[in-house]
Symmetry: C2
Subunit: 304 residues, 2 copies
């Protein structure tokens, strides 16, 4: 993608080194970070640009992973210092994730600068970063048609007021079950989703991992089960991939209709399943659109 | 239904008094038992007869619940003694069920006798009773077209050999997640379902409660999410209701095709949700077919 071309989707978030241990394997300094998964997933469906920050140690090969996946990297700032490094362990048959270290490094001073050509992009994904930075991104954009926001416990606990302000500015808030309950204080996920709608977004997307997801609006409710995975190799990034598959699909259509949302949920589910089939983006970056479409069609046939 | 009429569906299992405590309420000696839920659910879709045993204390009003729901009760034996009584408590925000008492009473000596008119019935549901009794029912039937079998931990632990024999004789085994893992020794539900197919049945139905269900055959896979319930009043009998909704729907079509299975899974899900909306069969027995069909149609629209 040329420097002057406006992408259909802009993804802003973390780009990181992930060191991941599962009951079966251990890998060091894989390509990770929410924006990596989301942008590579979105690029399967639409022209995508990524905005993030990496350190001097970020290898050329990882830039190439983005570029080969069709993700424009002009928004990927390279700063003095080391790349954000996350390290975690999946325990108890993959049901529990424990974080060993979170070395923010250059990510600690991330100041997202949206490239000129990105500012008119119609679809925006604000991955899990500080709400103040998410707001700063929104300030730089020229009224995107559809904005997705992700967040996490840290911001719910530490910067709630700023978080609520940015939530009110977006179209869709995506959270997992735990975050939905934490954010809203509601035990029932349906009540939590309703409360999220009261905060401003038109849509609340609740991700339930291996149990699928649902999307609620004021007057509608869409459900999607999970793709049946025989074995999960590494679930890191599955939720971010889901957001990327969803937004990329919507961007490919250009309009957010009920039918397009259904298709987007199917593609998001199938794309997230690919992420779980390997470490890092190793499976995700190799799938072809034809493979994905075939799996999406098979998935639809599984449902009534 | 006249005595000489053959039902489309025969349900064999327990009929009981249930005393249930939830965080919000406590009710004594409600109509319960697997066969009660299954038969009343099946009767929404097809002519259904129930086979079970009750004691002298079983009230006329409970017989009337079956009859008003359209369930034929000529197979409901009345024996000297007391009716089976189960008592349990839902704790931890409904996520944990603890059994207080299981007084088998007349159910301890249950010897299922299938009424003459029932023996040619094409659809049979063998609810959770001792595998030897399930086999004895099969011996009395004249080759039903489709038989569903349910079981529980007790039989997996104590009469595994007899259980395996009866599993090999049925078309569909229905178990919950925990039972699937316990029966097969597989942690992955997909692997557990495959192992169930190796035991003989054409279909393995794994019920995941609030996370829906899936149905596996040698060469097919069907998924259904759960109906989005804002509040669960009492989940007792939801799994049995699911089986009844499924089998009743299949019986109403007369044939077990892929399309009919999809419809059956939708009806089973919606029917089970009604059971969760009240204690005992209080909601289930009051719904009309029109209400149910409307909810089933709404449910289908929620899915891609």
């Amino acid at each position: 993608m040329g420097k002057a071309m406006t992408p259909d989707v802009v993804v802003v978030g973390s780009v990181a080194f992930d060191s991941v241990q599962t009951p079966k394997a251990m890998h060091e300094k894989l390509l990770g970070g929410s924006a990596s998964y989301t942008s590579i997933a979105a690029a399967l469906f639409a022209r995508t640009g990524v905005v993030g920050v990496v350190g001097e140690d970020f290898p050329k090969e990882y830039f190439e992973i983005f570029e080969k996946a069709g993700v424009d990297t002009q928004g990927l700032q390279r700063e003095k210092g080391k790349t954000f490094h996350w390290s975690g362990v999946y325990e108890d048959n993959m049901n529990n994730r424990r974080t060993n270290c979170t070395d923010l490094n250059v990510f600690a001073h991330f100041n997202p600068v949206i490239p000129e050509a990105y500012r008119t992009s119609p679809f925006l994904c604000l991955e899990n970063i500080a709400p103040a930075l998410q707001a700063r991104v929104l300030d730089q954009m020229e009224k995107p048609k559809f904005t997705v926001l992700d967040t996490m416990d840290l911001w719910i606990n530490t910067t709630r007021e700023e978080l609520m302000k940015v939530i009110a500015r977006v179209d869709l808030l995506t959270v997992n079950e735990h975050e939905a309950r934490h954010l809203t204080g509601k035990g029932s996920l349906l009540k939590a989703a309703r409360k999220i709608l009261d905060m401003g977004p038109k849509y609340a997307l609740i991700k339930k991992g291996e149990h699928g997801a649902f999307l609620m609006s004021k007057d509608d409710f869409l459900i999607v089960p999970a793709w049946p995975l025989v074995e999960v190799v590494d679930p890191t990034g599955a939720g971010d991939t889901f957001a990327g598959g969803l937004l990329g699909t919507l961007a490919s259509f250009g309009e957010v209709t009920r039918e397009n949302l259904h298709t987007a949920l199917v593609n998001a589910t199938v794309t997230a399943a690919y992420t779980c089939e390997a470490f890092s983006v190793d499976r995700l970056r190799q799938i072809t659109r034809a493979e994905l479409d075939a799996r999406a069609a098979a998935f639809r046939r599984m449902m009534p």
